[in-house]
Amino acid sequence: MTDEKHRNGKPETSHHPETDPNRDDKNYYGIPPIKRAHWTWQIYVYFWIGGIGAGSHLLATIGYLLGWRDEAFFRTTKYTTLVAMVVSPVLLVWDLGRPERFLNMLRILKLRSPMSTGSWALSIFGSLSGLIATKQAAEDGLLLGDNFASRLAKLVPDRLISVLALPFGLYVGSYTGILLIATSVPMWAKNWLLMGPTFLSSAVSSGLSWTSLVLHIGRWGDGKTLGALKKAEKAMLIIESVLIAASLVRMGKWSKPLFSKKLGPLFVGGTILGGIVAPLVLLFGKGSREKSILASILVLVGGFLFRYVMVVGGRDSADDPESYFTFAKKDEKGGGRPEVSE
């Protein structure tokens, strides 16, 4: 046996910091002091799709309010929101441990639980967007011609409903961030102020890119719409990058998981460079249809990776005792515990 093994005269019987001379941190065999969320792929896919739906609805409503007249634009945004709001609850129910009890989410409303308020907002927004899309379908002749149902659907006051649904839609786009921060996970909780706004900006940019992508691919949109979307995309990407930068500042050293070997390439390469910088370069350059399509795809992929690294990074953050203990520490030394000098 070497001195190395018995550096402080003790047999190396454990990894407890007091026994192991190589460690000076205090924790219990490195076992995570908090439990991570079980959330699997359904959750970050939902964060992404729900965001696209919310962003699209914002566009449709603003289009209405500004008296926009581009049928293809409204059709795209409304059907997008509908599809997103059909898929979202499916993903969420799928992720439950007891899916058959999903309705229990609506047996009570708890304002301090973002999971509760989010479920309500999703239900309300989903129902309203269903009404709006039904009217659109009737006008598009998708309800099997001129029958009672389609005549009824055409009576839906879709503009009014769009405006009423807007706050719920915006909440669906942003509460996913609040959902993360209202936990004990250091990386999330540290960014409590900006997580929601960052998720929302990403939702709006994804909604914009999706709409622009569909209109470009189908060669449907009129020039005015495409120009407006492009302008909005540029502005939104700039805002998003500022919010992400500010979020990283607020997370401080607890943002470490985002730059790990596993997530770093996805976050830096996928979200920041691929999902924000590259599309901005494409959009600010001389415009072409192909470039716009590529930019939109990059934004959508970047938006997905953003949600992925945030969810998975939070899992890694929860698994790191050092990260949690420094987070849950009194700034003044010692706290309420009597100080003992050895």
Binding site: K26, I62, S113, G177, V204, L208, A328, G335, P338
Partner: protein, 279 residues
């Protein structure tokens, strides 16, 4: 009336009677017979199937030796300075701690729960109604102490019920009943607080100034949690026992975060409208 636990880790001998009693009474399955290779603790942590967990913390002799170590001689060298001339084995000693749900006064898990499955029962304990929980798992990352856990095989979340069923019948919780050293005490929170105060003072008098109570609004039950109904007398920094010193009530941030989102929604909407007007 609020009931709770006081776990005095200074008298715990690490027998794990509480772990066994809890598993038996609550009919909890085993957690896999895994060997950690770390000390004698193969339970590792609290989980949905383990509602009491005894931590085994090695507290070795502080004296530094160099060169080859003769373990026998080391063990016979029993002169660690302890108050009142107490003697100690040369290999050091153990600190044990029987961990359990803290039954927070403002419980993060309860505030997180969207279904209202987690309630405060008539004994003011934090209790999950198993027939309501839909397994969303949101309570899990909310708990600042890593107590409540989803059980994948079942789907739902579980944790210590403070033996709700036994309390209804006027019995004390199974762990407190089984504990041979009275390290686990059960009773009314106020009485336990008095007991804890006396015990900590006694330990200080006997020359252990490091003893303190964990689970008060000053340490352990901090940051809006307003203390815990299940408290612990500890002899080392909380982190040694895998406990946070200064946790927070996560839901205190919800209102501020929601306002921030409202502001952001207004700004982002205005930006899109501007682009549409200009475009």
């Amino acid at each position: 009336m609020a009931t709770g636990f006081l776990t005095d880790t200074t008298v715990c001998i690490g027998c794990k009677a509480c772990e066994v009693a809890c598993k038996q009474w609550n009919q909890l399955p085993a957690d896999g017979y895994e060997l950690t290779g770390d000390s004698y603790d193969n339970t590792k942590q609290l989980s949905g199937d383990t509602w009491r967990h005894v931590a085994f913390i090695e507290n070795p002799k502080k004296k530094r030796l160099t060169g080859d170590v003769d373990l026998v001689a080391l063990a016979e060298d029993v002169k660690e300075d302890l108050p009142n001339g107490a003697e100690l084995d040369g290999l050091g000693r153990w600190t044990f701690m029987s961990d359990v749900c803290k039954h927070c006064v403002e419980a993060p898990c309860q505030q997180a729960c969207p279904t209202g499955a987690i309630i405060r029962n008539e004994f003011d304990n934090v209790y999950i109604q198993p027939d309501v929980c839909n397994g969303c798992g949101y309570c899990v990352p909310a708990c600042p102490y890593g107590v409540i856990t989803s059980v994948p095989e079942d789907g739902r979340a579980f944790k210590c019920t403070l033996c709700y069923d036994r309390q209804i019948d006027g019995l004390e919780p199974a762990c407190a009943k089984a504990c041979p050293t009275n390290s686990i005490m059960f009773g009314e929170v106020e009485e336990l607080e008095k007991l804890a105060e006396e015990r900590v003072a006694q330990l200080h008098d006997r020359g252990y100034p490091q003893a303190f109570l964990y689970g008060t609004p000053e340490v352990g039950g901090t940051g809006g949690i307003k203390g815990n109904h299940s408290k612990f007398i500890l002899m080392d920094v909380p982190e040694t026992y895998n406990l946070p010193e200064n946790p927070f009530l996560p839901q205190d941030k919800v209102a501020g975060a929601t306002i921030a989102c409202g502001v952001a929604a207004g700004v982002l909407g205005a930006v899109v409208a501007w682009a549409f007007l200009e475009g």
